[in-house]
């Protein structure tokens, strides 16, 4: 059996558009669940989505627990051995309080990739496959979130390119979720049930396309 760690934010957690972190889609509805069903019984899918998670920033308001880098290592060690780590982050880094351009958010993703490679939590101490997923761009109208994310919408359109550049240079897999799904208009940056379904199906396809050696 192969295991996949899905490391993300509220959109991996399954938070409903227009809802709070307590409003969560069911295990079969959120994309890691859809992907698990698509992949079948030979795959073990671990969901690690936290609302508000950043790549590498301690959040001065929500706390340092939202810093993806602090949690990634113990998380990987808890679930090792891991065959594939999927990282879908970046949207929270665009909050006004961090004042980061898209290229810096990508550098944060690069930092996480380096951490995974250093820790090598794959089978027999190898580096696992790493798949970077760029979140779909935010919509212009993000309702009451405007004050928190002000200016993030435009930057969010540039994440995919910056993420792909970092994925190419560090030689890891990349997928642009914006090529298959859009953010939901209810709050402009969370994913609808349908979007979760589409993403889960497409992610399963991406996982299989990696090309797994059947003999290992």
């Amino acid at each position: 059996m192969r295991s996949i760690l899905c490391f993300g934010d509220s959109n991996t957690h399954g938070q409903m558009p227009g809802g709070t972190p307590l409003d969560r889609f069911g295990p079969e509805e959120r994309w890691p669940g859809v992907m698990r069903r698509e992949l079948g019984e030979n795959w073990y899918v671990i969901e690690e989505g936290l609302s508000g998670r950043t790549t590498v920033y301690d959040d001065p308001i929500e706390g340092d627990i939202k810093n993806g880098r602090r949690y990634l290592r113990p998380c990987l060690m808890s679930h090792a051995p891991i065959d594939l780590t999927i990282i879908m982050l970046g949207t929270n880094d665009l909050k006004r309080r961090f004042q980061q351009p898209p290229s810096e958010v990508a550098m944060g993703i690069g930092c996480l990739i380096h951490d995974i490679k250093e820790l090598a939590p794959g089978p027999i101490g190898n580096i696992p496959e790493i798949l970077i997923v760029a979140p779909p761009p935010m919509l212009d109208d993000i309702k009451e979130w405007e004050s928190i994310f002000s200016g993030a919408q435009e930057k969010s359109h540039k994440l995919a390119l910056e993420f792909e550049i970092i994925a190419d240079s560090l030689e890891v897999h990349f997928f642009d979720a914006g090529s298959v799904i859009k953010s939901d208009p209810a709050d402009g940056f969370h994913l609808s049930r349908e979007a979760h379904h589409t993403l889960g199906v497409v992610m399963a396809r991406e996982v299989l396309a990696i090309g797994w050696d059947e003999n290992v």
Partner: protein, 367 residues
Amino acid sequence: MPDMRFAPPNPIRIADRSPGMNAVSVRSYNERLVLSLLLQNEGLSRMEIGQRTGLSAQTVSVLVRSMEQEGLVSKGEAQKGRIGPPTIPLSLNPQGAFSVGISLGHHQTDVVLIDFVGTVRFHTTIENPHPDENTNHSDFLTTVQAAVDALPKSNRERIAGIGLALPEDHHELELVPNGTIERYESLREEIESAIGIEVYVQNDITAAAAGESMFGAAKPLTDYLFFYLGARLHNRLVLNHQIFNGQMRRSYDVGLLNLQNRLEGTDNPTAPIWNQVGSWPDLGHAEIEWRKECVDQLNQSLEALSQFVPVTTVVLSSQAPKGICKQVIGELMNLNPNVTALAGDLEISPKAIGAASLPFSSKFTVQ
């Protein structure tokens, strides 16, 4: 020491963010490895590419993604495997790259435009200039330009180059009008300055062998003896996909010129034997006699080679119709049952298609 992990990203290869071919002219070795593999095999999965190249899954992923964005490679429909997960086959995108090939013969000049999988998109022949004419260059260059213009403007930047196949066999060069050889020498420069596309020059027989190897009957073969049946009979030894292109080249007078000479004493017309398509009319005794002499020479070359290299596979390429080649190799296999012989697959001017394969091998493959 700065921590190199956090230096600005330096991608091994970033596909051009605008549509179209990447401006980078020098491709990485790994990229060439993958493209060479795809030139030889259709529909490989990323896993198969990884296994055959020894590259990691992540490296293959990055390379394939960038070549997909460039339009050099395209994904097929997912295939359900007998065991394991479905695989997504990758192939070269036929429209990913194009190339022009020119073959200068003593009889005529062939110009082709081929796509990335070797399909001929344009073909024309022009007569050689009359000996009294000073030049046919205006006609010649117009024809090369017409091959380029056969592509929509948006695709022209995808032309990898122009291949030029030149005859070097001194027996065949004796057949061309005086002054032609001097013309050949300046052709490369003239084409480059008039058309503005890089020109690759190769010996015509070696070019034909390269064409059969990349797109024709020799595609799956690693070791074989290549014969080209033209005005004379030529050969090249191919070992481990490498065409031996040494200086000591011999050709034999058992080719179409031999047949023409035999026919001249008969009532039969000689013109049809220079046709590239269709079939020959019944040429009677002369043809049978010629074929026997040709087959004997093929067999002698094989016998001579077998003292040194155990090659028993033969590819016979020709400008003559495929039916003629099949008859010849059929008789060869009857004469020598140890031999496996194949007729060339390039039915339109193997030399010109071979010439067109040169820019591809130079730009996209591991040599």
